[in-house]
Structures are given as structure tokens and as C-alpha cells.
Amino acid sequence: MIEAVGLTKRYGDKTAVYNLSFQVRPGAVTGFLGPNGSGKSTTMRMILGLDNPSAGQVTIGGYPYRKLPNAPRQVGALLDAKAVHGGRSARSHLLSLAQLSGIPARRVDEVLGVVGLHEVAGRRSKGFSLGMGQRLGIAAALLGDPQVLLFDEPVNGLDPEGILWVRNLMKALAAEGRTVFVSSHLMSEMALTADHLIVIGRGQLLADMSVTDFISANSADFARVRTPDTEPQQREKLSAAITEAGGHVLPEQDGGLRVTGLPLPRISDIAHDADVRLWELSPHQASLEEAYMRMTQGAVDYRSTTDQKAGLQQPLPPGAQPPMPVPGQGQPGWYAPPPPQQGGQPFPAPQAVPVQAPAGPYGGAVPAPGAPAPNPYAQPAPQAPQAPPAPAPAAPPVPPTAPAADLTKPEDAR
């Protein structure tokens, strides 16, 4: 049982972890998720007494780590797979750690067998691949046969077979009644491994719930429905009919509708009864990855900006179209784009949307649902309003990405 209460860590004026309170219970794999730099490793180090919290405390079985009796036999940790003297063999490395905790030397060979490194035990760890390094780190964590296990990004650098192995190992350890706390930035991996999730962003707690709850709260199936763009009154009519039938309707940026709570055939029936033609009726599922990104998108520290390539490209001949970036792809809330069409929606005043729009994780703005969104395939405005003054043909007019530059403030970079 790991318990954090009001855990806070500041490095100078940077706050890495702020007021974090959570419990990690035995008998389950608890996933610890967050974007890069969100404070996962700092939290792990504080659990192990390596860093002193600026405020609050974290205990294991009721004791702060540095006061825990016989700590290495109770807690095992993989913090950094590369934290090994490269000139030392795998066996010597583990032997020195075993001797530190009074663990008999034969246990070293046991764990080397468990992680599959027995054949390279005598080799210097300098030549190990990242995956072998991870295995060595996991072996070190298993040495004391501990009841509490911490793993910081254990699947980094492992091949699919190794990932499967780690996943099963975690589950097996938890099934034996141990406390298993695994950090990762891969939601998809945690969805398969963990029973419980703790999500942090910018050092603050975003979610603390079971994976089942997380899935049901965040990845409901939905249907995408589109009525003819030329007849907006049909859209209103269908919305009303679906709502009446007990469905939930969310307008999408391109004029489509996102319907939850009704199966697809039922939506078709309703549309038929309401005498509304459908241009699209398709099943979708919001992925966990997407739900996780939506949750953490405000808390991403490292955000990429569009590569302007200023001065690196030949100016386009006057009148030529600059290449269009594909907007929105990979962003939450973005789905198959509407086909290019004649008489599409007029391009709206772009500055109206980006001001209140949250930014997507890859640098684009996600227009708020329901807001008049720019049609990505419509004729772009000749000059992005927030782009720096530049020769009009060379400046890529990309309204959706323009606010990203504003969001990458220096205070975010750590």
C-alpha cells in the first residue's frame, strides 16, 4: 500500500508535482499515466525517498521509505534502466545490489533466469540493448521478492514479445497480492495491463479511477450522422427526433452529428420516420488514447509547432497554391473529413475560433463542438491573421495551427 498525501515537489521556482494525493492498493496493477515531464518520475523518486518532498508526504505501509524497516526486501523498483555501470557485468551489478540488502547470491541467478538474461550474465552491461537493460532493471526490482513494486516506463525499448512478457509479469505479481505501480505514457498499454489508473498532468492529479470506469466514462461508442449540407433544417429536425427517442446529440465541427445512446439501425429508423435523408451513418469508437489525450491536452509540456521553414524554401510563384497541410489528423474530435465539394461552407473569420479553442496534443487547435469551424478543404484565407507578416504566397495560411505558437510559452518548457 502506497499512500501519498498532499505531495508537492519544487525545484527552484518550478513546481514538478503539486498537491498529489492518491493510494496504490495491493493486489492490483495501478497504472501511473501522464505526458512527458508531468512529474511521474519525480513522484516515483519521492516514493523511494530519493527526493525529499517540498510538502506533504508519501508512505509505504505507513512508513516513509527512509524509515521503512528492511526497505529493499519490501520494495523493489525499476527507475532507470540505463542506471548501471557499463563496465560491470549484469551478474556483478545484481550481486552488489543483493549484498546491499542481505539477499543471498543464488537469488541473483534466479532473477537472471526470470528475466531471461542468464546467458549474458557475465557480459558487461555496456553492450546491452535498451530492451536488455530494461530486463536487467526489472531483475533488480525483483531481487528482494518485494511486496511493493515500482516500475518507471518498464516497456520502453522492449520488443512486442518483451512487452507481452512485462504485461504478464505485472499481472502475475499483482495476482500474488503485491502492490504494483507502473508508470507509462502509453494509455493503450495501460488499458491492457492495469486495473486502476492514476493520471497526472503538470504534476497534478487528473483522474484516479479503475480502468473499467475510465473506459466506460471515456470511450462510449457513438454514431456519426450527416444530413445533406444543403438543407440545414433537416439537421435540426433529426436532432430533435433523436433527442426525443432518448439519444444524445453532439454537433460536430463539419456539420455532422455525433449520436450516443442509440444503435445504428434505430437511428436509421428515426431518420426514415422523420423523412430526413442521410448522407452518412457510421459507427465509431472513441479510443482510450483519445480520451487520455483529451484529459491531458491542457497539461502537455512539450508541444510541437509547425515547421515554418522560413527562408529555407523557394518562394512560390505568384498565384500558386501553397501546399495544404492536412489539418486535424490525429487530434481528438477529428474524424474523416468531408469530401471536397462545390459550394462548401464559406470560410469563417478564423480568429473567432482559435481564441477559445483548446489546442490539440499535436499543435493544432480543436474547434469547440458546435462552433463554426473552418472547413479544412475550403478556400483558405489569403493570410493567417496571427501569422507573422511575411510575403503572402510564402506564408502557409494555416489558421488551425496558428494559436499553437501562442500556447508554447516559455514557462511550459522545463
Binding site: A71, L79, L97, G102
Partner: protein
């Protein structure tokens, strides 16, 4: 009990890396070989010396002439033993296993110092006997007044240099930074301060100059050093204690990075 475990573990660590062997054997070879070379040269020069120089001729000290260079390898040994933990990140695993950081540091220093002491003593005796063999008829005997003290002192001096480096490395953590400070300090700054008249008084109290006093058997004629051989070693010990305590306090307080 816990300390015994840590000592065993540190012994495993120290003997399982190649740098231990390399730095220590370099210290041995350089100290002995350079001492023999300078002893042989001094023997040839003795006849051409002035009476004044002959009076202060110190065969024991001459056979330790290689120590000025050999101590640099000892410094590298001391620095690497401690800072390896930091440069590899192993410190996090070590401190996670030994939450009582005082036990961890003191066990590590104890193991490394014991090893350094064994090597230094062997080096000191070997340097003395081989150096005297080179000096021929001008040689000193181990039974002469003060000679045994000087030879034992030579071993202690090298050990203390290693321990001082460990303390500094525990404070600075980075091997490059530690070596970048210690090497010029012992090789240049101490020599410059000790040879310029204005700063001689200060230079006398630096660890290496104070400590090396113990290896002198015949004091130079115009010697105005305010301490004797053991007093000098005492000053060096104070430096070493300051470095080790500094390293201990910082390790105890700081986050383990």
C-alpha cells in the same frame, strides 16, 4: 549487520570494474618507477653537489619522488569510486536499497580506503627499497632514525590523498568536475603557491605539502616549517575530514540525482 552488508556490496562493486585495477596499478608503477629513476640520477649527481646540498641530502625522500605523479592516479581512483555512482545513475538504486545514506557513504569510503591503504603501503615500501638500491652507497637503511616513520607515512599520505578525493567527489558528484578541480589543484596550484615566497606560508598548509612532510627524514637547512612530520600529517587529516564531512552532509541533505 547492515553495515557489513553494505561493505560486502561495495567490495563487489569495486572489484567488478576495470577502472579500479587500472588506476591503482598506474599509481604503483608510476610511483615506483619514477622514484627509481630519480634515485639513480641523484646517485650520479651526488659527487657534483655542494656541501650544503650534501648536508640536506635525503635518500628516503628522493626515493619517494615518484609520488607527486603517482598521487594523480590515486586521485583518479578516489574520484571514480564515488562519482561512478552518480555518472551512471547507480546511486538511485544504491540509495533505494540503503536508505540510511550515512551507512552507504561511510561503507563505500571504508572499502575504498582499505584497498587504497593496502596498495599504498606496498607501494611505499617497494618505492623505498628499490629507490635505495638505485642510490648505491648513498642509501639510507630502514633501521635509520625516522626512516621507518617516513616509509609508513608515505603509505598513509597516498591513502589520505585518495580519501580526500573521495570526499571531494562526494560533494561535487561529477567525475569531470572533481578531476578538473583536483588535478590542477595538486599538480599546479599547490606547487605554485609553495614555490613563490609571498604565498609559501599559505602553501605550507595545503594538504599535499603538509602531508608530504612526513616523508622527509633530513630537514632542509633553511627550513622554517612551523610543524613537524606528524603535525603535517595532522593538517592533512583535517583537510580529509573536512572533505568527507562535507560529502556526507551534502549526500544526506540532497536529492539523489
Amino acid at each position: 549487520m547492515a553495515a557489513a552488508q553494505v561493505v560486502r556490496s561495495e567490495w563487489t562493486k569495486i572489484r567488478s570494474v576495470a577502472s579500479t585495477m587500472w588506476t591503482l596499478s598506474l599509481a604503483v608503477v608510476v610511483t615506483i618507477a619514477l622514484g627509481m629513476l630519480i634515485s639513480a640520477l641523484s646517485r650520479n649527481e651526488f659527487d657534483g653537489m655542494s656541501t650544503r646540498d650534501r648536508l640536506s641530502f635525503d635518500p628516503t625522500f628522493i626515493s619517494f619522488a615518484g609520488m607527486g605523479l603517482g598521487q594523480l592516479a590515486m586521485i583518479v581512483f578516489g574520484v571514480l569510486v564515488v562519482s561512478n555512482e552518480y555518472s551512471t545513475g547507480m546511486i538511485r538504486a544504491s540509495l533505494a536499497a540503503v536508505p540510511r545514506r550515512g551507512t552507504f557513504l561511510l561503507s563505500k569510503l571504508a572499502v575504498a580506503t582499505a584497498l587504497a591503504l593496502a596498495v599504498s603501503m606496498a607501494t611505499s615500501f617497494a618505492a623505498f627499497f628499490l629507490g635505495q638500491a638505485m642510490l648505491g652507497e648513498h642509501k639510507a637503511s630502514i633501521g635509520d632514525d625516522g626512516v621507518l616513520r617516513a616509509v609508513l607515512g608515505g603509505g598513509l599520505y597516498m591513502t589520505l590523498i585518495a580519501l580526500f578525493s573521495m570526499g571531494v567527489a562526494a560533494m561535487l558528484r561529477s567525475p569531470m568536475l572533481s578531476l578538473g578541480i583536483l588535478m590542477p589543484f595538486f599538480f599546479l596550484i599547490s606547487n605554485i603557491l609553495g614555490n613563490v615566497d609571498a604565498t609559501k606560508k599559505v602553501g605550507q598548509f595545503l594538504p599535499d605539502q603538509a602531508g608530504s612532510k612526513i616523508m622527509q627524514v633530513v630537514t632542509p637547512l633553511d627550513d622554517d616549517t612551523p610543524y613537524g612530520p606528524w603535525g603535517g600529517l595532522g593538517i592533512m587529516v583535517l583537510w580529509v575530514i573536512a572533505a568527507v564531512v562535507g560529502g556526507y552532509v551534502l549526500l544526506k541533505r540532497r536529492d539523489a540525482q
